[in-house]
Symmetry: C2
């Protein structure tokens, strides 16, 4: 696996792979890689002969009081892991190249970016949309692979690609979980042992809603209340427990009867660590407890 | 010359040309083509073996009270003109493809888009940046050619390309003028004979400032006053007559001493027609009266 810091060398390597007749897959990450990321890379490899991965902790998607400075960074470890799953190329670009001096351009997706995490992290999805547009521009025509763990991000990126007519196909990959159901996340590294237990409130909430849904419950308010209870039991710091349309991300009011697919999305803090999780009931399979 | 309405066919044709080893040039226009546009196409041809042109009247760059509905449209005439200067491919895409159902993505350039026309046409440069990003995504790596007549647009697009790391080289082409100095514009079609005379106020303003500048005058206020007088004589409907930094577009205050390059930019209405013109004194050559 080649490790590059130079974006033009990366651009050329991707073009070269295409010229050689290979499909190119891109796996954009912020590093601190775990099994979830490696699943993205393996999935990319299944679909493309040439797999490129990027590691870039993107400053514009962090708010001023968020964890940009302490976000875990381990490029050597990341490179070892990516090489082990057959990634061909790793780009770790300098921030001053991704955001050149005097830069002032942003990409904004509208209503999809407003509810859920958008309401609690102003500017977050604008930062995501902007960096992803840049990474797509560097990679050129490709298959880009993202996790469904960041479900709203995935929907924002799908919309961005359609709207800007980018030559990119998006593949969403199911969330990878620890044996006890906790969604894998680089931020799990922050958790103290007691917080690690509290963190299970999120998957318990999803399971509770899923269980009712599979019994035929369709009232948004009842599903939401079922998801909320285990989260409230685990932590008082809840950003949201929402029941929403999986395509538009519009929040369903409690009195609505949801259809055969419904998004349940949760964001909550345990200690200082903000965690998110979600499931599209009727579509995703949650592991048994 | 091939005329296409299908964007994917256009994308493929551009890829095909690159695969055949040709450099691709793009000339984006809103149609109603005049000699200024044809100069862009000829310039494109000088630099690239394959020249693609687009004709698309972009709704998002027009304000609600502007001339979107009545903007001149003549695709057949445009196609004839482009064929005559050796353009290879013309794309005239449907609006519902450039702005697909549910679209909600916008590209925004910051401070460069704020002064001058940005202050009088809210959202205009966001519309320009958005459509140009889409056209670049369709064309792929290319040389894109724009006129210096729309100087602020050119600077916004240069910034956008740098900031989003797009594989596009931008070429700015000097303004093409009528024999009496009027900058060519599709909107000149709107002018009644008396308005056509009034419209010369803009070039007279630029010439007045240029003449002082060449005599060594560097006081921003004096240059601005010189440019303003002939415009005021021609029309009471002046949006701005400004003296600004040609790179940042920051407006120079009257008391500033400008450097060896200075932008003089003018926007004014004659009758119902909004006209713009500009010159970078110390860089552009204005025709003699």
């Amino acid at each position: 696996m080649h490790v590059l810091h130079d974006v033009e060398a990366f651009r050329n390597a991707c073009s070269e792979a295409r010229r050689a007749g290979h499909r190119v897959a891109l796996v954009p990450t912020m590093g601190a890689l775990h099994e979830g990321h490696l699943t993205l890379a393996r999935e990319a490899r299944r679909h493309a002969a040439f797999v490129a991965c990027t590691v870039f902790v993107n400053p514009t998607q962090f708010g001023p009081n968020e964890d940009f400075a302490r976000y875990p960074r381990d490029l050597e470890g990341d490179a070892r892991k990516l090489a082990s799953v057959g990634v061909d190329l790793l780009l770790a670009p300098p921030v001053e190249v991704m955001y050149p001096s005097g830069e002032q351009t942003r990409v904004r997706v509208g209503s999809l970016a407003e509810p859920l995490c958008g309401a609690f992290r102003p500017g977050h999805f604008e930062g995501v949309a902007t960096i992803v547009t840049k990474l797509f521009a560097l990679t050129g025509p490709c298959l880009a692979v993202f996790g469904r763990k960041d479900y709203q991000q995935l929907q924002v990126i799908r919309r961005l690609v359609r709207d800007l007519l980018l030559p990119v196909e998006i593949l969403g990959v199911p969330t990878v979980r620890e044996p006890d159901g906790l969604a894998m996340s680089s931020r799990n590294l922050y958790l103290q042992p007691d917080e690690r237990q509290q963190a299970l409130g999120l998957i318990r909430g999803l399971r509770a809603a899923d269980s009712l849904f599979r019994q035929g419950e369709r009232r948004a308010g009842v599903l939401r209340a079922a998801a909320l209870a285990p989260v409230e039991e685990a932590t008082p710091w809840i950003d949201y427990v929402s029941v929403a349309d999986p395509d538009t991300l519009s929040i369903w009011a409690d009195e609505v009867s949801v259809g055969e697919r419904v998004l349940v999305a949760i964001a909550a803090r345990v200690g200082n660590t903000r965690l998110i999780d979600n499931a599209v009931l009727g579509e995703d399979t949650l592991p048994l407890p």
